[in-house]
Amino acid sequence: MSKLNRDGLRESIDAVLKHSTDKKRKFTESVELQISLKNYDPQKDKRFAGTVKLRHTPKPKMKVCILGDQVHCDQAKANDIPHMSADDLKKLNKDKKLVKKLAKKYDAFLASESLIKTIPRLLGPGLAKAGKFPSPIGHNEAIVGKVDDVRATIKFQMKKVLCISTCVGHVNMTADELYSNITMSINFLVSLLKKNWQNVRALYIKSTMGPVQRIF
């Protein structure tokens, strides 16, 4: 973090938040981190991609569904989290349209370890095609924690252009929460780069509808 001007970052965060309150939108704007790279050749160098769990959930409205065994379904019921059991999945009868509908209804899925092995047989490749194949939950793990983890995890991937953008928060978070999420993301991204800060050309943050604030 030595390369990043902490005060500058705090000012930029404040500017982003101020802009979103000045011009209030009808939806909760997300806050994005944009990173542009240099000294990196996408044809030769190893792909830059990964997932990181942030401290404060950037997407609190993310809809997660549990595909659970008895224990996990009970926990889901107790916590008001949508869930389906193995029998519910069997009722779909591997119908492609129904599986597609299920995939569209939720943003992510979690599945008990015992159930996850049977997903290809019960549902076919539908969830995979939608990019929503479930993450596993151990038999002894509590689902609430896992659901929060899923909502707090962001994915990023560099394709052919030397620029990446990820969602790191939203405008209803406090400046401190945003600061924490942003620094955590930057530290993680930079640690994955071969030349660390030498690979970073610029960093920006912005709200969905707001202007870009350069932070590096």
Binding site: K46, G50, K117, P125, A128, F133
Partner: protein, 407 residues
């Protein structure tokens, strides 16, 4: 018994030879991938891809270059020697082709070329051929909303079929099972590893298992006991995963190997799995630093991963690929410093001055006789749906003789 042997072999390795893959001084070409003839042994060849779109063949034990295969017009994403005909080499590329080369015939023209068609005609990010050398499979990049696993019968140039439902992003790894010709593993940046059993007709039925790495797949393969019953995966974030391929049991999931080694012997990234013969139930993980040190890790205890050997004095930059040969007990590694290094038991290392820039004037005699395609006895019939979104393929039987209109 076998376990002890592999570990001891790895501990005895020392640097024997270095060979530069490119002559360009200004911009180093990376060695990105290594393949070796499955027959192994002291006379075997090693193939290495370079980021300058060429494939170079080397004799394993001397690293003397024997041929340079030129022809691909873009990044080469995968190479593999054929099994029954070890002189032939298959390569897949971002130039949308899969090619089979026979260096005895020509190093500038492939002997077979495979392409996709229509919407599936896009960059191939991975490719391989099955154990009976009968089926070729390649994975594409994601184009608009689709990504494909393409299949060809080696005896024909036209596409046999494709799968398009099981991945949601670039397919970076396609690895056939080394012995069982019906199983293929695909890995993608959507984080999933899929295992397909090609005895079944449709994609839905062929899909056996799906594993979620919750990251992006960089390298995948088969390992483990009873003839490689496990699938392994290294992600771009350097997390390590192993699962049993059909019962789907989780064997190993280690996310923090880099964090465990940050001192003198540093791990910046994972390279690949090093395993002995197929009966071996132990494997080691090669990991490296950006300054070229390579460490061989013992993963038997997931809490306390240990370094069994460190290979130094070879590479000066990130190590990208490797190949271990059980017969000769040698390890070949390739890196971003454009070097290939041979590590063999008991070698004491070479002085830095000894880095040979070996360039071989292609002395392969132009053998004009075409290699006859061997008649392969059909063992299985791999039937699966042809999926063509745009046009239907009509197979017109060319009729021999002329049709005479009888009036």
């Amino acid at each position: 018994m076998e376990v002890q042997d592999l570990c001891t072999c790895l501990q005895k390795l020392g640097l024997q030879h270095k060979s530069a893959v490119s002559l360009e001084q200004t911009e180093t070409d990376y060695v990105m991938d290594i393949a070796a003839q499955t027959k192994g042994g002291k006379d075997s060849l090693v193939a290495a891809t370079s980021s300058n779109h060429t494939i170079r063949l080397f004799s394993r034990l001397s690293l003397a270059e024997t041929a340079v295969l030129k022809g691909h017009e873009d990044v080469i994403s995968g190479i593999q020697f054929l099994h029954s005909d070890p002189d032939l080499l298959l390569s897949s590329s971002h130039d949308k082709t899969v090619r089979i080369w026979d260096p005895r015939v020509s190093s500038t023209k492939e002997v077979q070329l495979f392409k996709a068609e229509g919407q599936a005609d896009c960059s191939l990010l991975s490719g391989g051929i099955n154990a009976t050398d009968r089926l070729i499979c390649a994975g594409t990049e994601k184009v608009s909303e689709d990504v494909y696993l393409l299949f060809w019968d080696r005896r024909k140039a036209t596409l046999l079929g494709c799968y398009s439902e099981s991945h949601d992003d670039d397919i970076t790894q396609v690895v056939w099972h080394p012995v069982m010709d019906r199983y293929v593993l695909s890995g993608s940046t959507d984080g999933l590893l899929n295992v397909f059993d090609l005895v079944h007709k449709s994609e839905d039925d062929a899909l056996m298992s799906t594993f979620n790495t919750e990251a992006t797949v960089a390298r995948a393969g088969w390992c483990g006991p009873d003839g490689n019953r496990y699938v392994y995966c290294i992600t771009h974030m350097d997390t390590w995963h192993v699962w049993e391929y059909s019962e789907c049991d989780s064997i190993q999931q280690i996310a923090d190997i880099k964090e465990q080694f940050q001192g003198q012997r540093k791990v910046d990234y994972l390279v690949d799995c090093v395993q002995g013969s197929a009966e071996n139930d132990r494997w080691f993980l090669a990991a490296g630093s950006h300054t070229g040190q390579l460490h061989l890790l013992d993963l038997a205890s997931t809490d306390q991963v240990q370094i069994v050997a460190s290979l130094e004095g070879g590479h000066t930059d990130t190590v990208r690929c490797l190949h271990w040969d059980q017969q000769t007990e040698t390890l070949v590694t390739g890196g971003e410093d454009s070097l290939l290094c041979l590590w063999s038991p008991g070698a004491t290392g070479i002085s830095p001055v000894d880095t040979k820039q070996i360039y071989c004037n292609n002395t392969n005699t132009e053998d004009k006789s075409s290699t006859k395609q061997k008649q392969v006895n059909p063992v299985h019939s791999f039937l699966f749906e042809l999926k063509h979104r745009d046009r239907e393929e009509k197979n017109d039987e060319t009729e021999e003789g002329t049709k005479m209109k009888v009036q």
